[in-house]
């Protein structure tokens, strides 16, 4: 006899088990292949990377107020002083492969300081070059603390940065002009370069080489 609220012809046990197994497999594919990569940056099947769903994920961001921090005016560091010149080639605006913009950062410990100077030539109108000077933490599995130092247009800037927290700090450059350009960044201080391909230097920029050699082999 049928129970109320059920199908009038219950499925045979074998078919029921097979259908349940199918449902479990499909559900697991959806969860492990799509939802976990997109929502939690957890990609057990590698499908998130293949399908690009992993790119949907971003860590939770916490804005950091960089204006109010204070450090002693005189300080010493355990790491050595260094200077680097980075030449960054950027394609004209609208490049199909996104070659008209990139991000270059260096790793800094909290309270470490660098001084910088950067400029870009061949931009007829200074409003056609955008930069976002910022830093963020890179602790796996934690919220991302983000400090924005400056977002503006212009073709050069010079100044100094004292890192408000351990993390990666640097610039996002975007060429909005019709010319291919080269950004020359000079930095000195207490920091580490980020190896090409890692977070902060995804564009694989090689430091201290001319612009035509700066885009390292992929």
């Amino acid at each position: 006899m049928t129970t109320e609220g059920q199908i009038s012809n219950p499925l045979p046990a074998g078919k029921m088990l097979a259908l349940t197994a199918v449902a479990l497999v499909v559900a697991s594919l959806v969860v492990f292949g799509a939802i976990l990569p997109a929502e939690f940056n957890w990609d057990p099947l590698g499908l998130g990377r293949v399908t690009g769903l992993s790119r949907l994920w971003a860590p939770k961001q916490v804005a950091f107020d960089a204006s109010g921090s204070s450090v002693p005016v005189a300080r010493e560091y355990a790491v050595g002083f260094r200077s680097d010149t980075i030449e960054i080639p950027l394609r004209p605006d609208g490049d199909r492969r996104g070659g008209d913009e990139l991000e270059y950062k260096v790793r800094m410990a909290k309270d470490a300081t660098l001084v910088f100077e950067w400029s870009v030539a061949d931009i007829p109108n200074p409003e056609e070059f955008y930069y976002d000077f910022h830093g963020h933490t890179t602790v796996p599995g934690a919220e991302m603390t983000v400090a924005t130092y400056k977002q503006a247009t212009g073709t050069s800037a010079n100044g100094a940065l004292t890192a408000p927290f351990d993390g990666i700090h640097g610039w996002f450059f975007q060429n909005q002009s019709v010319n291919p350009v080269v950004v020359r960044v000079k930095i000195s201080g207490f920091y580490e370069l980020i190896p090409p391909g890692e977070a902060g230097n995804e564009a694989r920029i090689v430091a201290n080489v001319p612009a035509d050699k700066a885009l390292g082999a992929k």
Binding site: E4, Q6, L19, S28, I35, L36, A142
Partner: protein, 248 residues
């Protein structure tokens, strides 16, 4: 079926076809609205700000939030769909939905008022289990696979308790002002029931029309396997979140 009856049925179907489509589209829109707030189905944005700013009894807005939570809550909707899928008599529909309502009202009120602390991910995972459970049961799985038929009324009321904890955890995420808390909770609860009636009415209209067609017999099994799959997805996703993935 005699020819006369068949032609009447088809005429009736033609006449009601626009209604079926309209309700189906409405249903999809509502589910869509749920997906938009999806996966972390909770109270967010401006609604959260409102709840936090409440300083006294504010029954109607809380009622609205309760109704909104239910109407956009695909997990609760899937369970109710599973429960009424094969209920052909209105009396049975009312009995089961009432049992579900009693269940979730108890834990919603008790959970919030007695500050019972349950993990939201675990509760949502068990809500996923409830969806899968009912779909499995709908196809007669417990009888044919395990040889026992659990009491469905107890199951629905019991899972109602779990759904109520789910409702409670969403509210507990916010700083609820003790002033007017009881009134606001009751308002939220009444809103949940109103939202449930809205969902149920739309669902019944669609189901009643669908059952009249030949496709119901053909696709009823498939539909329940889909509900079963959705239940597994919710369950696995929430368990994954519970085991640390959501901290990021």
């Amino acid at each position: 079926m005699p020819a006369a009856a068949r032609s009447f049925c088809c005429r009736a179907m033609r006449r009601t076809a626009p209604i079926v489509w309209a309700t189906a589209i409405l249903g999809v829109l509502i589910v869509g609205a749920g997906i938009e707030s999806a996966l972390g189905h909770g109270i967010g944005g401006k609604d959260a700000a409102f709840v936090a700013s409440t300083k006294s009894a504010d029954i109607l807005p809380f009622m609205y939030l309760g109704a909104k939570h239910m109407v956009t809550g695909y997990d609760h909707i899937l369970f109710i769909l599973g429960v009424i899928f094969f209920l052909y008599r209105l009396r049975d529909v009312l009995i089961y939905v009432t049992l579900f309502s009693i269940g979730h009202s108890i834990t919603l009120l008790a959970g919030v008022l007695m500050k019972i602390d349950v993990n939201a991910y675990l509760v949502d995972a068990i809500i996923g289990v409830s969806v899968a459970y009912k779909a499995f049961d709908n196809l007669g799985g417990f009888k044919t696979v395990f040889g026992v038929q659990p009491n469905n009324k107890i199951a629905v009321a019991g899972f109602g308790l779990v759904h109520g904890f789910g409702l409670a955890t969403k509210l507990q995420e916010f700083k609820l002002n003790p002033n007017g808390l009881v009134a606001n909770m009751v308002g939220f609860n009444v809103g949940v029931e109103i939202g449930q009636l809205i969902v149920l009415a739309i669902m019944l209209v669609i189901m009643l029309q669908w059952r009249k067609t030949a496709s119901f017999e053909r696709f009823a099994v498939a539909a329940n396997v889909l509900i079963l799959t959705a239940g597994f997805v919710l369950m696995e996703y929430q368990f994954a979140a519970y085991f640390g993935a959501a901290k990021v």
